[in-house]
Symmetry: D2
């Protein structure tokens, strides 16, 4: 049986996402409620190596549930890729007596946690914090719902102009390997076409559908493109469209980093709160090296090394619905 955990650490790692603060708050308060000491580690694994580690109190996490970003900051950390770095990190944790770790981040962060936990016997619990949602073992990632609502609000604004000028807008949203933000924001804004990494972009079909709309005088058009779209992103698509349909008034808009920030949506706060609570329970129950997700509204535990590899599948039916509803 695992020994009883009495001191735990929490950190955020990788790209920040809205709701990370709500997760930190839940970890800290659930820990304190269970008479654990909870330490905040600054700038992800960097803070472990630099001993940027401070005790957290209930007040430390007051009034943050509604804030974007992360009060613990985040950073990439090359040293943690090396054994020497991880060893130094371990020694710092030991110094503080930390016996368990909650890592809020994406698959890259979990790979690091997995390696570290194997080498040094500090149980790690991963919480999926990423706007991209491309993670096995969970229906929700902390930040996705906010990011996609930010994208939707931005595209709604662009639609006002598209409509006023009968223009075609090609809008690039985040998602280097994943089309979730593109697909959800595209459906929600009535986009005519949605280009994602998970599906081959048939540029001829796209041109044909635009020509058809030109004939039918449907001149307002939105195309939503994931940045990792296999065709090469919004600018590349625009290049072809302008060449083939020079009469169309075609504009490009790249939404960029606004999608990462902002006050988290209700769902992201709930998911973050529930997962933060569950992370502490998991450490207390002696679990280790799992990512906690939510599937079918139930907690789901995925070994960290499996959390890193798998991808979710985009539902074919949605792609059909897109075509029909934008017609």
């Amino acid at each position: 049986m695992d020994k009883k955990v009495t001191k735990i650490g929490v950190l955020t790692s990788g790209g920040d996402s809205p709701g990370m603060n709500a997760a930190i708050r839940a970890v800290v308060r659930t820990g304190l409620y269970n008479n654990l000491e909870v330490f905040g580690i600054t700038r992800g694994y960097m803070g472990m190596i630099d001993d940027d580690i401070v005790p957290m109190h209930s007040r430390s996490v007051a009034n943050i549930i509604q804030r974007g970003g992360t009060i613990l900051k985040s950073a990439r950390c090359k040293e943690f890729y090396e054994f020497e770095g991880r060893k130094k990190a371990y020694e710092n944790l030991r110094k503080h007596g930390i016996e368990g770790l909650v890592v809020i981040g994406g698959d890259g962060s979990f790979r690091g946690a997995q390696k570290f936990a194997t080498e040094f016997d500090i149980p790690c619990i991963g919480l999926p914090g990423t706007i991209d949602k491309d993670m096995a073992g969970t229906d929700f990632t902390i930040g996705f719902d906010t990011a996609v609502n930010t994208a939707v609000e931005a595209i709604d604004k662009i639609r006002d102009t598209a409509d006023a000028h009968d223009r075609l807008f090609i809008i690039e949203v985040m998602g280097r390997d994943s089309g979730y933000i593109a697909l959800h924001s595209g459906i929600a804004t009535g986009a005519e076409n949605i280009l994602i990494p998970e599906a081959k972009t048939n540029i001829e079909d796209l041109i044909a559908s635009l020509e058809d709309k030109q004939r039918r005088k449907k001149l307002v058009n939105l195309i939503v493109v994931a940045e990792g779209d296999e065709f090469g992103g919004a600018e590349e698509v625009a290049k072809v469209v302008r060449q083939r349909l020079p009469d169309m008034d075609t504009r490009v808009c790249i939404l960029g980093h606004i999608q990462r920030g902002g006050s988290p949506s209700c769902i992201d706060r709930l998911v973050a709160s529930r997962l933060g609570y569950a992370a502490v329970e998991a450490l207390m129950e002696g679990r280790h090296n799992v990512m906690i997700g939510i599937i079918n509204n139930k907690l789901h535990y995925t070994p960290l090394d499996l959390a890193v590899k798998a991808k979710q599948k985009i539902d074919k039916e949605w792609l059909k619905i897109v075509k029909i509803l934008a017609s």
Copy 2:
């Protein structure tokens, strides 16, 4: 085997909810795509009785996916409770050749649809459109996610003042029979207490927890109360608090109708689009008198008479999380 449907009607009934327009759009465009004629019926069952029924085109539903309210309007309709009213409604549908009906609304609306469909052999498909989420057979209702985010944004604003003045705010949110909005918005805003119809309000516990916070100098406090809370709503709670804790600077805020309106959230637009699409498919497949919901991310069909009765259960674990996270 059911005969093939060629003309369908769509209406919104009961209290409006954000996303109803997205559902109407999906019904209309999916119908047209399948070469059906689609009729829009104005002001719910009233429009059926008054023959306020017009053909819808693809353009009729352009640029509405992002709008709150309902372009088809909604209304209560006493005449539809009477057989005479329903008969008149039926005759009007017949006149237009309408062979199937999509009703977007709540349990009251479904009761009406159930009765009507039994008497007159017009298959009815119900889509759950209500901000309250208290409906059997679905994890989502169209409008809930928007309503709860509106409540969260409003409470975040109130927290600014609570924090500036070290005040206790007792905030009433919608939910006559259901604590979902209260529970979700309360957790998401870090409320200290959440009072809901589904759980007995222990006012002594509430007072004790406030006294404890006074002792610990935690002076900023939010209590979120569902309007249908068994204790009698925010004003009643405030009355007791002011009497028992006269030193506390206690204020009441009733969020009211802002929770019904506004541009729908991404999820509400997706749910509405998917259900609207599914409603037409269901009519074409010969289904009748079911509400279509989503459970575990799959479509779920509930007979209309069962959709009206059941209530969802509030998870006990959430009530525990509330206490711990607000500590």
Copy 3:
């Protein structure tokens, strides 16, 4: 000539308003830039009496320009009405060597500052921080623009429901002595009638105009009422309307405290920044006991005792425009 100021204090007093933090930031950073020491005083005059006074650094005000509320908190303070209280406050300021004070608040706060400055020779600069805008000597008060935009967004949401159901909504906004929020938000949302403290409410005219609209089948109606409306607020108006026009579906909505909070608008941040900067310059120039406002885009200095008394006048032309545009 006045002696050179080297240490100053800043406090927020009275009801909080969005942009107060931006003003605090500007005072602190402008002070530090000019090599002054700047002290933050907590909970208004209460903090002066309780010696809740701490030195502020550039970092103390980092990342607050966008936050609602006030990091210095605010409070009413009965002791400050008494000479004994003010004397104690003065002694605490002396202890820290504070030679000038920036008071961000409303007319009540300025009355206190005026009295204090007369008795104890600490120059006071007032900055108008109130959502009500009812202050002589300035076109802008910190917080008004945000409050009125919050009201507008809320009323837009209510309009969705009003429109869906053909309802009359009577909406009460803040403004105990002032109709600015009501007037601006009412015009901006296309309200049919706007009731304010500055104009006598002719209830017969109101009823007549509603009857006229009923005849013309214009069924969606918004009436915006300031809480200090001479007729007695939204509930009183509703009582009469329901009695006289029982067929109208009439609802009341009281927006309440959401109007005080939230992230400040661009204008409120600019006004706060400019006034905070000017307050420090004013203290350095030896000015005392003036409120700094902005009139015709230029700084304007009003003696504190005149800042308290005057009221702005509501432009008659606007009342005419309301009638015409809502027709």
Copy 4:
């Protein structure tokens, strides 16, 4: 004396801006109130040439005050540069009996109106509708306040990530010839540097100030750049920064078209309502070929040919405030 106007037209021209719909509504309803006939002209001058001209009723402008874009659509129109085009436009106006024109747009649109009005004796009233605010003869343009608030909200979101990662963000906002959006949004978000077309960009100063901040470990930095900045926009600035300060984690974000759309702010709705009302009054009083603006809260009439040329000046004091407050 001018003959009495009985029929007028209204159009929107050039880039759309939030609040144009509120202006259209005010023109239509004020016209109808004064027993004029009001015609809506679609797609700016294009609609005049193509005879895309329809009578407007009170209902035509219901429920649009809160909408971004323009229900009359807008377009560039090459034919209107030619005398032939303008003649055709005139003939179409004559056909409908239109004797006066309200043109909502920017300086380019006013140049066209000026030319047209000189040749054909149709009095034209210009209303400044542009997000850029770079127009002589007015303190406000319809759309500026909304655009700048949209920019502020977007930059607030980016700040969350900048703060989480200790990054430098270089953010490009709209403003090809004007730094107003950059200046206002930059001050309001606490940007360290603001680069605008009206002031020469000293790149050495910029680098020096960033180096200084690096030394002081102030790692979160925002630079706001107007697209027409003389140095060449955000990407050019980033190129130099990355070369000179390779250790900085530097990112570029171009806000783009989201700044044009969205529901207008309270001020933009008020300004639009007041100007729309004034435009009809002006036509009825026999004024012609003036742009109506607001200066020091009073209506101000500028001959159309002067409205096109002048530029406002950026206040030097603001540039000083920027430096001090971001320190």
